[in-house]
């Protein structure tokens, strides 16, 4: 059996699954330290389901620990950025576009050395090994232990980044190195930013992995645990320590993956209605569609894979005002169970409207019985209209598509939604996110520029698919289950020679053999 856990802003959800069957689930409040909330959820769900700890084969956790650390500028490791690209790139040094407070928090140390590649794989300059050695000595003298290495066109040829890591390790034995090509895509500043953020989270990653391990051990669970990544796949504890940044935005991804699993729908729109917002995303072959523009985290532009999510300020805690009628974006959030009318408070929320309309039985319905039925219907209509617009915005064609409603706020929606071929409220909808974590697979991705003057398009695609598949297997997928789930080709503009950027993603089922205790 597996346990899936999702740490959200308001609740920490846990679910026990036996194969494809949901055995039981629980919701507990998220705690400021996150870990004690996870422990509480685990204890609760094991007690509720009467499942013994030794029956658990794996634990999958989706957590906001790392995003919070960047947003709050807390628990970040002093980090040096080493960029390989001289004589090019000097005009815009590392962290040039960072908010000053975040740059200062991690020390703002940066080094530029010669090397890197052109788009077609030629060297810009031979790698400045002596320069790297000198930088490494300076980094060691400053007692910095985390280094992010970025090299021009490393997604095309990572050689210089890999060699730089060897030199850094020779000089600083206990250094933790993040290589940009392992995290981001073409777009040097954004990829470098993601690498620096990853490097500054590595100490925290060790702490958190140790805390999770301890929490599970305390519970008597000796199964391996995994963290969910923002592309809907899993990484093992050793991977988390190296790539913590890949956990960013795993929450919306988990809820979309959970919705796909629970509904059996692979292509459609998912609406996750929470306490404060509704997140609308699109499923393509069972995976979230990815955002194609730069995404900001904590004020820093990054370009690593993120789910394409459109959020509107509408949730169970949204404030409802009449004359004129408005719903949200203000919300009582986690104070719903104190402030909403049905819970004895004096704030009219979307949940109160749902209860007054008879859509849900929560709290004391008597406290909203006096509301004017016409106004209640108006509010429900507005609420539906807001969701319809959000769904339509994310759809890929005017044709109706299946819409899956998940999250605690699903109770707010009555009847049908325009633009939906069918409206699905799957079983266990309140914990779709934890289920998404529990069922996650492992994956591999490649993103490279190919010159189609040298090889045919088919050969380039085959090569990219092969690389992605190999990466998925290296990440722990059972080879026979690996499938290609996404292929993207973008021809590079203003260039002869048919240079084309090809991105391929492969995923497979987690190989549990040999990974347990």
């Amino acid at each position: 059996m597996r346990i899936g856990i999702d740490v959200g802003g308001t609740n920490t959800d846990a679910v026990v699954m036996d194969g494809r069957k949901v055995v039981g689930w629980t919701k507990t409040p998220t705690t400021p330290d996150v870990t004690s909330g996870i422990t509480a959820a685990l204890r609760q769900v094991l007690a509720d389901t009467q499942v013994r700890p030794e029956q658990i084969d794996a634990v999958m956790i989706g957590t906001t620990h790392f995003t919070n650390a960047v947003v709050e500028r807390r628990r970040l490791t002093p980090t040096a950025a080493l960029r390989i690209g001289l004589p090019a790139t000097a005009a815009l040094p590392p962290m040039v576009d960072w908010p000053p407070d975040l740059r200062e928090t991690i020390g703002g140390h940066s080094y530029l050395v010669h090397g890197g590649f052109e788009f077609d794989g030629r060297e810009i300059a031979p790698l400045g090994e002596a320069e790297i050695r000198e930088a490494a000595r300076d980094i060691q003298a400053k007692d910095i232990r985390a280094v992010a290495v970025s090299s021009v066109f490393s997604p095309v040829n990572p050689e210089h980044e890999v060699r730089a890591r060897e030199i850094l390790q020779e000089v600083i034995p206990d250094v933790q190195v993040t290589l940009s090509h392992e995290i981001g895509r073409i777009g040097l500043l954004e990829r470098e930013n993601a690498a620096i953020m990853n490097a500054c989270l590595t100490d925290l990653a060790h702490t958190i992995v140790a805390a999770f391990r301890q929490a599970l051990t305390d519970m008597g669970i000796h199964a391996p645990f995994y963290l969910s990544q923002n592309d809907g796949t899993l990484m093992g504890a050793d991977f988390v320590e190296r790539y913590p940044v890949l956990t960013f935005a795993s929450g919306p991804t988990n809820s979309m993956r959970g919705a796909a699993f629970l509904s059996g729908i692979r292509d459609g729109v998912v609406v996750d209605i929470g306490g404060t917002t509704s997140d609308v995303g699109v499923l393509v072959q069972g995976f979230p569609r990815e955002a194609s523009v730069a995404v900001e985290v904590g004020g820093v532009r990054t370009n690593f894979r993120m789910p394409d999510v459109y959020s509107i300020g509408l949730g169970g805690g949204s404030l409802v005002r009449t004359d004129p009628l408005t719903i949200g974006p203000q919300s009582v959030g986690y104070e719903l169970t104190e402030k909403a009318r049905v819970f004895g408070g004096d704030v009219l929320t979307a949940t109160d409207i749902a209860v007054a309309a008879g859509l849900a039985e929560i709290g004391d319905p008597g406290r909203v019985a006096h509301l004017d039925p016409a106004r209640v219907q108006d509010a429900l209509g507005r609420l539906r209209q807001m969701l319809e617009e959000a769904v339509d915005r994310m759809k890929t064609s005017p044709d109706p598509v299946p819409v899956i409603l998940v999250g605690g706020g699903t109770i707010l929606v009555a009847g049908e939604l325009a633009g939906a071929s069918e409206l699905i409220r799957p079983d266990h909808f309140p914990v779709a996110n934890a289920i998404g974590a529990a069922i996650a697979q492992v994956g591999g991705e490649t993103d490279r520029v190919f010159s189609l003057a040298e090889i045919s398009r088919e050969e380039a695609l085959d090569q990219a698919k092969r690389e992605a598949t190999e990466k998925a297997i290296a990440a722990g997928a059972r080879p026979e289950t690996v499938a290609i789930v996404d292929i993207e080709e973008v021809p590079l503009a203003y260039l002869p020679g048919n240079a084309t950027r090809i991105r391929v993603k492969a995923v497979g089922d987690l190989d549990m053999k040999g990974r347990g205790p």
Partner: protein, 362 residues
């Protein structure tokens, strides 16, 4: 009238230049960061009107050439365009009194400012397109007889290639493109050299001011939660030609150019209508219900409906809600002489250019 580019003006110019890029021209974001960094070092950029220059003042055009995708990865060393200008001065035996943009749409609005920040030379409030176009010969300078050479191309290593005795700008385009590929697909080209009187005669004037005003209008609309598309039109003239959602994007590569077609389905007052826009890096022709409504050289700008953020052709994607604007080009780009360089026929379309107001009969 001269003015100094301050951080606020820079922000607006970057937005306005992005919109005037008509889907191409490269994102001005990195250029904006460059100028901001140079400003923090105490450098400044002065913009002057062409009327403030003596007739025989020497003005040099400068801009980046190559692939935007390479531009976001192999970032510049810093002084490439400065060295291109200095090498051109040395070769031609002239001294620049001012700089000018060849292309105000997209990232090339910023390149002369970088040179200005280093050299202290002013930037003339003008350019050679009033928008973005993909090729060197598509500037009003060349259309109206300014010699494309001598020209200097400089790469990230400071290596320069000098082009001379080329009278046809199309030839310079082909030769410079080949050298640019060898330079790693990104270089800076200093060309042409003009007397201020010739610049006044051939250039599209006041376009830096225009991009600043476009940016100001969009920022104002965002603050007031107004309609950014209407805000752009209030400054540029022109018409909203569609509001809709992207439902299909087709792409193909020919001769190194990313070509394609985006299809939109109408929203609001355009419900039931459809639009297709053909692009080759920039938007070329907008078809509404199968009829051409706007063609090059008029501007077709695709903006995010809510933010007014320009959507470049590389970012076109299913589901975007967009406002499409048709903005008349400068009259200098619509003469028979100009249409031979920038009309629909130059991009392989058997469509006759008619001004958008005439096509839409308003």
């Amino acid at each position: 009238m001269s003015w100094t580019v301050d951080p606020d003006a820079l922000e607006s110019i970057a937005i306005g230049a992005g919109i005037l890029g008509t889907g191409g021209g490269g994102n001005p974001y990195l250029g904006k960061l460059r100028i901001r960094t140079l400003m923090a070092q105490g450098r400044s950029v002065q913009v002057v009107s062409v009327d403030e220059l003596a007739d025989d003042a020497v003005v040099i055009g400068v801009g980046g050439i190559g692939a935007p995708t390479v531009g976001i990865e192999r970032l510049p060393r810093g002084t490439e365009p400065v060295e291109a200008v200095r090498a051109l001065e040395a070769y031609a035996g002239v001294q620049a009194d001012a700089l000018v943009s060849v292309e105000v749409g997209g990232s090339n609005s910023i390149v002369p400012m970088i040179v200005a920040a280093y050299t202290g030379l002013p930037v003339v409030d003008a350019d050679g397109m009033g928008r973005a176009f993909p090729e060197v010969q598509m500037t009003s300078y060349h259309i109206y007889g300014i010699s494309p050479t001598p020209a200097v191309l400089c790469d990230a290593h400071g290596q320069v290639a000098i082009f001379d005795r080329i009278s046809d700008p199309r030839t310079l385009e082909r030769m410079a493109r080949v050298v640019t590929v060898e330079m790693g697909c990104r270089g800076d080209l200093a060309s042409p050299i003009m007397a201020a009187a010739d610049l006044r005669r051939t250039a599209i004037l006041h376009t830096l001011t225009l991009s600043r005003r476009v940016g100001d209008a969009v920022r104002q609309a965002r603050r007031a939660h107004g309609d950014p598309g209407q805000a752009v039109l209030s400054v540029t003239g022109g018409l909203e030609i569609f509001r809709g959602k992207i439902v299909e994007v087709e792409r193909r590569t020919t001769r190194g150019f990313a070509r394609g077609r985006v299809t939109l389905t109408g929203l609001g007052p355009y419900r039931g209508a459809s639009m297709a826009i053909d692009f080759q890096n920039e938007n070329l022709i907008a078809w509404r219900n199968g009829q051409p409504v706007v063609t090059v050289p008029d501007l077709i700008c695709v903006l995010d409906m809510e933010s007014g953020e320009p959507i470049t052709t590389e970012l076109l994607r299913y589901g975007y809600r967009v406002t499409v604007l048709g903005i008349p080009c400068d009259p200098k780009m619509a003469t028979p002489q100009a249409l031979a360089y920038v009309g629909p026929g130059c991009f392989g379309y058997d469509v006759v250019y008619r001004p958008l107001r005439e096509r839409l009969a308003v």
